[in-house]
């Protein structure tokens, strides 16, 4: 190897001040990697692009020594959506920008670089409505497959879609690349169409069911994500049974956040969850699953995977803990972790998410630590303007669900 020709320096041999500059970057609340990059380029007399690679590698090594590997990547392929659902948690984020392919490539590279050889990786195609940017979906899928083959890591793909734009071609592509599509369906037609409307205000249930039918030809196991609004809580059990009859196999059910629930509706929701659990347990079927009900009660913990082992990349390459945190404040990227150019530079934010020290302290201060573990960061922000200040409505939901639903023991 040819030497770089960098003059030996006193002490550790590095130009003075660079180590301190790296530390300053790592300790900053709002890190400024371009400044460090320029300093390295100037002091070592190397091109800025090489200095950028050095910064990326330093940041990566710090993350490797401090935090778990990143194994899950969520991509906002587009901020666009073909629907106009009135409750959408992303409605303030939605726009028309799409992820350029160079950002998509860098995002995939970040996943593999930060995975530190972990055997099982996952990519979630998300949006907006991800099927509006199939160019990026295809690019990411095929580039990630190539990288996984090279590194001998396994890779799973998921997609969350409203199902309206599915076509024979896209469904075939998803099947060919083992992309599992999770559909957003809120119930049967009456409940679903209350909020899940197109931009002309028309309900979308019929079109989603057409998409479901199309999808099921190539993806026999159909999962749906149900968002329950207060006025739909009473029909939740009937909705689940009805959707099962229509071919749905797996349910993720959650109450809508960011709104104030009347106590009676919360009780109703919890009771309906109890009915669903009783039905699920009374008639075991090999074509039905509620992941939440199968989750063991013990072993739950503060926080979630966001920022710990999972990151979300925006259309312009910034890295957020998750899509919902990304969406709750359009003006400021809450809990920003970095970007695809320099990596996860925001060490303090990642530390807060991984350790949950602030969240634990806040829950303890409210005297609810025995029964609640802080909930969802984004929901906390919606309620209190602070990711780490627990949403007390979520706390009450968790208590009610466990009272009414034996299968909800892990809801903390």
């Amino acid at each position: 190897m040819e030497p770089l020709g960098i003059a030996p320096m006193p002490g550790n041999g590095l130009p003075p001040g660079i180590g301190d500059a790296v530390v300053a970057l790592m300790l900053a609340n709002d890190p400024d990697p371009p400044t460090l990059e320029r300093k390295i380029a100037e002091q070592l007399g190397i091109p800025i692009v090489d200095a950028r690679l050095i910064v990326y590698q330093i940041v990566e090594s710090f993350n490797a020594r401090l935090f778990p590997p990143i194994t899950h990547l969520e991509l906002i392929h587009t901020e666009g959506c073909n629907l106009g659902c009135s409750y959408c948690f992303e409605k303030d984020m939605l726009g028309y920008r799409r992820m350029p392919l160079d950002v998509a490539r860098a995002a995939v590279d970040l996943l593999f670089n930060y995975s530190r050889g972990q055997p099982d990786l996952a990519i979630v195609h998300f949006g907006g409505e991800p099927t509006l940017n199939m160019r990026s979906v295809r690019f990411v899928t095929e580039y990630a497959e190539q990288r996984a083959a090279e590194s001998k890591q396994t890779l799973e793909f998921d997609m969350t879609s409203n199902g309206v734009l599915l076509t024979e071609e896209t469904v075939d592509y998803f099947a060919a690349h083992n992309i599992k599509v999770l559909l957003s369906v809120d119930g049967l037609e009456e409940s679903h169409d209350l909020y899940r409307k197109d931009k002309k205000g028309r309900g979308t249930f019929t079109r989603v069911m057409e998409g479901l039918t199309l999808l099921k030809r190539r993806q026999p196991w159909i999962g749906v994500k149900m968002t329950v609004m207060p006025e739909c809580a009473a029909s939740l059990f009937d909705a689940v049974r009805g959707l099962y009859d229509l071919g749905v196999n797996q349910f993720i059910i959650g109450y809508a956040t960011g709104i104030a629930w009347p106590h009676e509706a919360m009780e109703t929701y919890a009771a309906e969850m109890g009915r669903i659990y009783a039905w699920y347990r009374a008639h075991p079927r090999n074509d039905l699953r509620f992941a939440d009900f199968d989750k063991p009660a013990e072993g739950s913990f503060y926080g979630c995977q966001a920022g710990k082992i999972s990151v979300t990349v925006t259309v312009d390459g910034e890295v957020s803990p998750c899509a919902k945190v990304l969406a709750v404040n359009k003006r400021e990227l809450l809990g920003k972790l970095g970007d695809v150019t320099y990596g996860l530079t925001h060490i303090k934010n990642r530390r807060d998410l991984v350790t949950c020290t602030r969240l634990k302290a806040a829950v303890s201060a409210r005297g609810i630590a025995d029964e609640f573990q802080g909930g969802c960061f984004a929901s906390n922000y919606e309620a209190n303007g602070d990711l780490f200040n627990p949403n007390l409505q979520d706390h009450l939901f968790s208590v009610l669900e466990r009272q009414h639903c034996a299968g909800c023991a892990s809801h903390r």
Partner: protein
């Protein structure tokens, strides 16, 4: 004139700078954030978790939840299910 730097050289420089900075960061944390400093001295890894359980998020992995993506913080993991 700018020098062309090979990737091996970049890696070596990054390692040198990183090692130097890591020591400085640990020292800086000793007073202000002793928990962080302890983690640094351990080399990171399983010490960083929310409850004292493993950071591998085993609960999620074995119960079918993939990531924090939707309205409720999770989406389905299909692998391993009996279809």
């Amino acid at each position: 004139m700018k020098k062309d730097v090979r990737s091996e050289d970049l890696k070596r420089i990054a390692d040198e700078i990183g090692a130097d900075a890591f020591g400085r960061l640990t020292t800086a944390f000793e007073v202000s954030e002793p928990e962080m400093a302890a983690g640094l001295r351990r080399g990171g890894g399983p010490g960083w978790n929310c409850t004292g359980a493993s950071f591998t998020c085993g609960t999620y992995e074995c119960t079918g939840v993939v990531g924090c993506v939707g309205a409720f913080g999770c989406t389905v993991k299909f692998t391993g299910l009996t279809v």
